[in-house]
């Protein structure tokens, strides 16, 4: 699928650019439309387990709805308190609702773009691409890769330690003390393992220099530019739309 084969650096930079651009705007419509476009693009051009995507999207949506609610509840004194909207049984200032909706869709737009990247990108290819296209030092890239591998191992460790501590009879202590007792064996084990991993890498001839060949060469091809071009075009179109219908507005630090 197109998104999965897209050069990861191009993809990441495009998304970062769009996020920054989107962060400058503040209206309820543009981020809402952009969220829909992003989801559509992800589903049309991405190959991934649909179920998991929803599994991730749902909490984000709940978060966004929650934000909508609290923003309205905690809002500043509005400038035009007279203009109100009926929300089911609740009468609230129109301005507050607009701000809240804009904020919520902003969050959703950021989230869906981040999901687009996460669901269609292979972590290893991303790091390889960062090295090959963006000149990330191999020492850092492979160091991160080695550390990232520890994630599942740490989860198991964590469970082990929790059970082990329970047998020793914990619980009458303060929360902070308990955290410390957890953290020390977990981190000590992780650091020792990290050190061993580093030795193993060096014994395989890894020196961290840029002089190395790659088993998988990640390149930027012509078709990779379609993504930034396409997404940029859609974004511009949305802006033109907002100018045409006169709801365009810069972000001025609304909360």
């Amino acid at each position: 699928m197109y998104l999965n084969n897209l050069n990861p650096s191009v993809k990441a930079l495009t998304i970062l650019g769009l996020v920054v651009a989107l962060a400058l705007l503040f209206d309820p419509v543009t981020p809402a439309l952009f969220t829909l476009v992003t989801i559509a693009v992800t589903f049309l051009f991405g190959d991934f387990r649909r179920k998991y995507y929803l599994f991730y999207l749902i909490p984000f949506t709940i978060f966004a709805v929650g934000m909508l609610w609290t923003t309205i509840a905690f809002a500043d004194a509005p400038k035009n308190p007279s203009e109100t909207v009926g929300l089911i049984w609740w009468e609230v200032p129109r301005e507050d609702v607009l701000v809240a909706v804009s904020l919520s869709f902003r969050v959703l737009a950021f989230a869906t773009m981040s999901l687009l990247f996460i669901f269609t990108t292979n972590m290893v290819e991303f790091l390889l691409s960062l090295m090959q296209q963006l000149r990330l030092p191999p020492k850092l890239a492979y160091g991160i890769m080695a550390g990232y591998r520890f994630l599942p191992m740490l989860t198991t460790e964590f469970r082990q330690i929790r059970a082990a501590h329970r047998v020793r009879g914990m619980g009458q202590e303060s929360r902070w003390k308990r955290y410390r007792r957890f953290a020390v064996p977990l981190l000590a084990g992780a650091i020792r393992k990290a050190e061993r991993t580093a030795v193993a890498m060096e014994s395989k001839g890894f020196t961290g220099t840029r002089e190395r060949t790659f088993y998988r060469n990640i390149r930027v091809r012509k078709k990779d530019w379609l993504f930034p071009a396409g997404m940029g075009a859609i974004f511009l179109l949305l802006i033109l739309l907002s100018l045409r219908f006169d709801y365009f507005s810069w972000y001025q630090g609304q909360l």
Partner: protein, 192 residues
């Protein structure tokens, strides 16, 4: 990157991964606090989110440790699925830069409690300035914003600086840091 040893990079990266998970775990705590106190809720525990910078810098003591560890932690958080997405990456980098700036000001020579607390406070300053523009504290009343700022400063100094040092020192006692700057310093003190 030249004067970094590979084991230092891997250890930094592992620390970042661990704390990325911790950071995610503290988000709901922040949310509960905001529920009770409004936007200032997050500021009480904001220091937690700077802690990896302080720990990595204190253990490894090389330029870049504070910045890189926070950046990696933010990246891992995004990959694990944080709703803030790419924006978080930028926040992470800015916090990291803040923490790093404190160590840079001491010329990467002093790593006492004062420096570490200062570093936590600098991270608070940077993140607050960024937050001011990005999340719109401008819309809030001036006094309230000041209160938020002071809370975050204290949180940075205590939760990142003091707690980060305590945790690293506890780790040093286990002997696993003997190959790192912190472990070596402890050994020298012990010998003296």
């Amino acid at each position: 990157m030249k004067n970094w040893k590979l084991k230092e990079i891997v250890v930094m990266s592992v620390l970042s991964v661990v704390f990325a998970v911790v950071y995610l775990a503290f988000l709901p705590v922040g949310k509960v606090l905001t529920g009770f106190f409004g936007p200032i809720g997050y500021d009480f525990i904001f220091g937690i989110w700077f802690i990896v910078s302080i720990i990595a810098a204190y253990i490894i003591r090389k330029p870049g440790a504070a910045f890189l560890s926070e950046t990696i932690a933010a990246t891992v958080e995004v990959l694990l699925g944080n709703a803030a997405g790419p924006m978080l990456l930028i926040s992470g980098m800015i916090q990291g830069l803040g923490a790093e700036s404190a160590f840079a000001m001491t010329g990467y020579r002093r790593y006492n409690l004062g420096t570490l607390m200062f570093s936590g406070m600098m991270a608070a300053v940077f993140s607050f300035v960024w937050g001011y523009f990005q999340s719109g504290y401008a819309a809030l009343a001036g006094g309230y914003v000041l209160l938020m700022f002071v809370t975050r400063l204290i949180s940075g100094a205590i939760l990142a600086g003091v707690a980060g040092k305590a945790l690293s020192d506890a780790l040093a006692k286990t002997g696993v840091l003997s190959g790192f700057a912190l472990g070596k310093e402890k050994r020298k003190k012990h010998a003296a």
